[in-house]
């Protein structure tokens, strides 16, 4: 008879309020343990084969632990399961996800922007070619997703509409699920535009607010140099009013100079935004390396130290102000990001196909769309982007966070060339534990907010 073993990917930790938590990075089962079951779970995980199952409660505990893969049969190979899962999803061809940049031009001149706004709007010829290309693929698809990106995509709203209506028509004909998301600076997101969002199938909107007005208005400025904070807030309030179900994500880009001032925004943002949105923080990253046209890079070490120390503090402070924070890491993952998957492309305004929204330039494209709707691929470069295999790398095979990281950033791998043995992850087990505590507080906050809403409804 096969014995039992504990998963390599369990994280047992205590939240700040003393609650015991158990997370498994493969199953993503995240459990709260009461004081009675905690010592039992410790015993079970430490030595599952000698755990005495002599009460109904312990039988149930054992079942739950197996269900969440905290423990499993001894002959089960977690790495092989993870690899299968990842390969099934990475190389599937029945879904298509396009990140479309309808223009690279922008009405903002953010101080940290890495993009080159030279390319204008996508021409009608390329739009037609793109729709025809998608139409051809449609026969094998189950789902089609568009992420609008730029530049500022709303500067090319006509392109967004034309492409969406062209593609949606074929999705309806072939019964393919369609959905879209948008990353916008929010400045042009007025009532007319928002009303149209519904027709464009937009289910999620991300807008950046980089701190309180005095910080934001120095960084996210119009071409004229004028600040943008007030108008973005006004537009977000319209969005909240008109689209009750849309997901709203506030992204806060930060750096050494702004970390300390960012918490001031938590008191200033209107309650409606606090109630309806999720917030997250990202350090402004150094520009791409010189061969991609970037400038000299900051040292990796300095960047990582900031991420580890400052970002968890911001997440914690935001939660203390009742913001639900955006943590996309802890769901079952199959890849580090979309660039890892065969059926994801970034489409620039000239119809060039890329894998990454950061590492892109016309010279480095993996293919392009012709006005006739053909995709001419550079298979060699595409293969290079998709060649990352964390399961063959010792550093990844040994790593406890592999199920969430899956080998890290493709672009870093691509740039590293021969240095594939190096770890390209931004996370480590300590960082992960800090973020699991944040995730737990999110659940407490959501429960609190739902309770509050129920109370408000019943008191009306």
């Amino acid at each position: 008879m096969t014995g039992l073993k504990s998963s390599k990917y369990n994280f047992l930790l205590d939240a700040d309020d003393g609650t015991h938590l158990l997370y498994n990075a493969i199953s993503c089962g995240f459990a709260k343990l009461d004081n009675a079951s905690y010592p039992e779970v410790q015993k079970l995980l430490a030595d599952p084969n000698n755990y005495q199952v002599d009460t109904p409660e312990k039988v149930k505990l054992l079942e739950s632990a197996k269900q969440a893969r905290y423990i499993m049969d001894e002959d089960m190979n977690e790495l092989e399961i993870l690899k299968l899962r990842s390969n099934v999803a990475r190389f599937r061809t029945d879904s298509l996800h396009l990140t479309i940049m309808p223009t690279l031009q922008c009405n903002f001149r953010c101080s940290y922007c890495y993009e080159n706004p030279n390319q204008g709007k996508m021409s009608k010829e390329i739009q037609r070619g793109l729709v025809l290309w998608v139409k051809e693929k449609m026969k094998t698809l189950k789902s089609m997703d568009i992420s609008w990106f730029g530049g500022e995509p709303l500067l090319a709203f006509d392109v967004m509409k034309r492409l969406t209506y062209g593609i949606k028509k074929y999705c309806q004909k072939e019964k393919v699920d369609f959905s879209a998301t948008i990353t916008t600076n929010g400045y042009l997101m007025g009532e007319k535009v928002i009303t149209e969002f519904k027709n464009l199938g937009i289910t999620s909107v991300q807008v950046s607010i980089d701190g309180p007005p005095d910080i934001h208005d120095k960084r996210r400025i119009l071409r004229s140099g004028k600040g943008t904070y007030d108008r973005i807030i006004d537009n977000l309030l319209v969005l909240i009013t008109l689209m009750k179900d849309v997901e709203i994500v506030i992204r806060v880009n930060c750096d050494n100079l702004s970390f300390n001032n960012i918490p001031e925004m938590f008191d200033i943002l209107p309650d409606q935004i606090r109630e309806r949105s999720q917030i997250y923080f990202r350090q402004v990253f150094p520009p791409p390396p010189p061969e991609w046209g970037g400038k000299q890079l900051e040292s990796r070490q300095a960047a990582e130290e900031n991420v580890k120390i400052c970002l968890p503090e911001l997440f914690t402070k935001a939660q203390k102000h009742r913001f639900v924070v955006y943590l996309p890491y802890f769901v079952p993952r199959v890849a580090y990001c979309e660039a890892d998957t065969y059926s994801h492309y970034v489409v620039d305004p000239q119809g060039n196909l890329h894998k990454c929204t950061v590492g892109f330039s016309p010279e480095k494209r993996v293919g392009y769309i012709t006005p006739k709707g053909e995709a001419v691929m550079n298979v060699s470069d595409l293969a290079r982007w998709l060649s990352k295999d964390p399961f063959s790398m010792e550093v990844c095979r040994e790593c406890k966070i592999l199920p969430l990281c899956l080998g890290g950033c493709d672009f870093s791998h691509f740039c590293a060339r021969g240095e594939s043995k190096k770890c390209h992850s931004v996370v480590d087990p300590m960082w992960l534990e800090e973020n699991l505590k944040i995730l737990y507080r999110n659940f407490c906050l959501k429960n609190g907010k739902e309770q509050l809403q129920r109370n408000n409804r019943s008191s009306v």
């Binding site: 498994n24 709260k32 779970v41 879904s95 990202r282 955006y326 079952p332 199959v334 998957t341 992850s425």
Partner: protein, 39 residues
């Protein structure tokens, strides 16, 4: 043991992966990128 997040169903996990991985929800909206670009 009170699950805040339910685990993937053992035995049906590939089906679940197929159902969900096609969506941009793999990473939500532009969620994970943009911090590592230092070499």
């Amino acid at each position: 043991m009170d699950f805040l997040m339910n685990p993937l169903e053992v035995g049906n996990e590939l089906i679940r992966i197929e159902q969900t991985s096609s969506r941009a929800q793999l990473n939500g909206v532009c969620g994970i990128c943009c911090v590592t670009l230092t070499q």
